[in-house]
């Protein structure tokens, strides 16, 4: 698929420059090793939230840096984990004595690079591992992938950190959000990595890929394309198997577009998913619909359900001011 670019090896740098210009009111881009960091003033001693990952998932994570959410994001090359020097630079830049909490998506490269940084970091730090994707069986030896639920962890923990929660509390909260979040995705196309020039895999005109991640790879199965209702039912069933939401539970329902699916279709999926859980007596109290954790130009979407206790709900509602999410200020 064709792209707007000058050269594949300058795309990321140029794009980060544009992002930094466009949002210069709230973030700044460091010199290499690249870090996007929050500019808005913050309480000294607040826990510094740092995340990051390969680029190609925008707005995750750079678009989520700012008041009430991440203090810094470390952008790697497209689909490539950032390197420890980025995380160390980030920690140096944003830790004001309250310690650093790394929010890490569960992929081998992300886990290892963040671990190395954490080991090298002198100051107190902790890590929350996000693994909300239920497409992969729980028993999988790598563990499950971190996907669209990552944003939810970042938002809720970000609010707690903004309100002065300490490092241990932030970590515990992040793990609680992660435990109560389940996601699953489906793709109608793969994506095209600029350096490869062609879609990572191909699907026929009547095929869909069930249980995909966000790096353009095959999912669990290639299936015949079916109705939105049937697709939603499949995704929801996997989520229910994992989360087992009870009647009267409060939940956040997040329909995430992978990049090339029109918003109209995302709201259709929202309608179907909301109906599914309404029929189970689950109380969908918050929604988020749109392209948040993308996979370049993949057509597809994921459903994420987060079971919210009252604290998590309050923290979700707390003010946030990033490039992509903003409310309460």
């Amino acid at each position: 698929m064709k792209k707007f670019l000058n050269a594949t090896d300058t795309l990321l740098t140029e794009s980060l420059g544009g992002f930094a210009l466009a949002h210069a009111d709230i973030i700044e881009l460091s010199a290499p090793p690249y870090v996007i960091r929050r500019k808005q003033p913050k309480q000294v001693g607040k826990v510094a939230l740092i995340s990051g990952g390969g680029s190609g998932h925008e707005p995750l994570h750079t678009g989520l840096v700012g008041l009430g959410m991440l203090d810094a994001a470390c952008p790697g090359q497209i689909f490539t984990s950032p390197t420890p020097d980025q995380m160390l630079a980030a920690a140096q830049a944003v830790d004001t004595g309250g310690g650093v909490l790394f929010i890490v998506k569960n992929y081998a490269g992300d886990v290892m690079n963040f671990e190395i940084a954490a080991e090298l970091l002198d100051s107190p730090n902790a890590t929350v591992l996000v693994n909300d994707d239920v497409a992969i069986p729980k028993s999988q030896s790598t563990g499950r992938r971190g996907v669209a639920g990552t944003l939810i962890v970042e938002k809720i923990v970000g609010a707690a950190a903004e309100q002065g929660a300490d490092l241990a509390a932030c970590k515990a909260l992040g793990e609680r959000v992660n435990q109560n979040t389940a996601s699953m995705g489906v793709a109608l196309s793969s994506c095209t990595v600029p350096a490869l020039g062609n879609p990572t895999f191909t699907l026929g005109e009547q095929e869909m890929e069930m249980g995909v991640g966000i790096h353009g790879e095959h999912g669990r199965a290639t299936l015949p394309l079916t109705t939105a209702s049937a697709i939603t039912a499949q995704l929801a069933a996997h989520i229910d198997d994992d989360l087992k939401p009870q009647a009267n539970a409060q939940a956040l329902l997040h329909i995430n577009g992978f990049g090339a699916t029109p918003l109209m279709e995302l709201y259709l999926i929202y309608a179907l998913a909301a109906e599914h859980w309404q029929q189970q007596g689950v109380n969908i109290v918050r929604s988020l619909v749109g392209n948040y954790t993308t996979s370049l130009d993949m057509a597809g979407c994921s459903i994420t359900l987060t079971l919210l206790d009252d604290e998590m709900l309050r923290l979700w509602d707390a003010p946030v001011h990033t490039a992509q999410l903003r409310w309460g200020c």
């Binding site: 390969g54 090359q77 390197t83 490269g109 290892m112 671990e115 999988q140 030896s141 790598t142 990572t200």
Partner: protein, 209 residues
């Protein structure tokens, strides 16, 4: 014979060439059961090493590997970057400042591979680069690895290692998400490591004694 670090420029060039010549094939492997970025990540790291090759050739092995490890760690990225960086940094620690012959290198290399296993929480048989690096480490430390035969033998071991990944079910890395669909594909990291080992062995074989 001991190998001086003055070989480093030539070694790095040989590795970079080997990767470049096989770039499309390696990319295709990571595309089939990964996310397609492995070879460009490696090439970025190798480009950085190439830029440093002259100065590396003036250091001790320990200092050179320390520098190479830091470079790879901060330029490659992803799973392979963290693991290759770990390999070189551990070899730097293990090497002290002695001159290295093949046996000496074997000891240092084995320590490096152990550090990779700890970092990746992985071992051979999981369809990763370890399926080349572990057999290579074992071979280098074995009696079969003689001064005369070792540099040829290690290439055969590496090639056998990468081929062995074809039939494996991936239980580490991205390919593991594909479960059974990972079977029948060679692992990209294993392939790139085999290419690198063969290129290094060829240079060392031709090194003046």
């Amino acid at each position: 014979m001991t190998y001086p670090t003055t070989l480093l420029p030539q070694l790095i060039e040989a590795v970079a060439n080997a990767i470049d010549e096989n770039a499309e094939a390696v990319a295709a492997l990571d595309q089939a059961i990964g996310d397609g970025d492995h070879v460009i990540n490696l090439q970025r790291g190798l480009a950085a090493l190439l830029a440093q090759r002259e100065e590396l050739g003036l250091l001790t092995w320990s200092a050179a590997w320390q520098k190479m490890g830091m470079t790879l760690m901060s330029t490659v990225g992803g799973a392979s970057g963290s693991l290759l960086g770990t390999l070189f940094l551990e070899m730097a620690k293990a090497a002290a400042d002695q001159a290295l012959d093949l046996k000496g290198f074997a000891v240092v290399f084995a320590q490096g591979v152990e550090a990779m296993k700890r970092r990746g929480k992985s071992e051979a048989g999981e369809k990763t680069m370890l399926d080349v690096l572990v057999p290579v480490a074992v071979y280098l430390q074995s009696d079969a690895c003689t001064a005369a035969e070792g540099l040829t033998g290690v290439q055969a071991v590496a090639i056998a290692g990468v081929e062995s990944t074809r039939a494996m079910l991936a239980t580490k890395g991205r390919a593991a998400f594909l479960a059974e669909r990972s079977v029948g594909h060679i692992d990209a990291g294993a392939k790139s490591c085999q290419l690198m080992i063969c290129a290094i062995s060829a240079v060392l074989s031709a090194a003046p004694t």
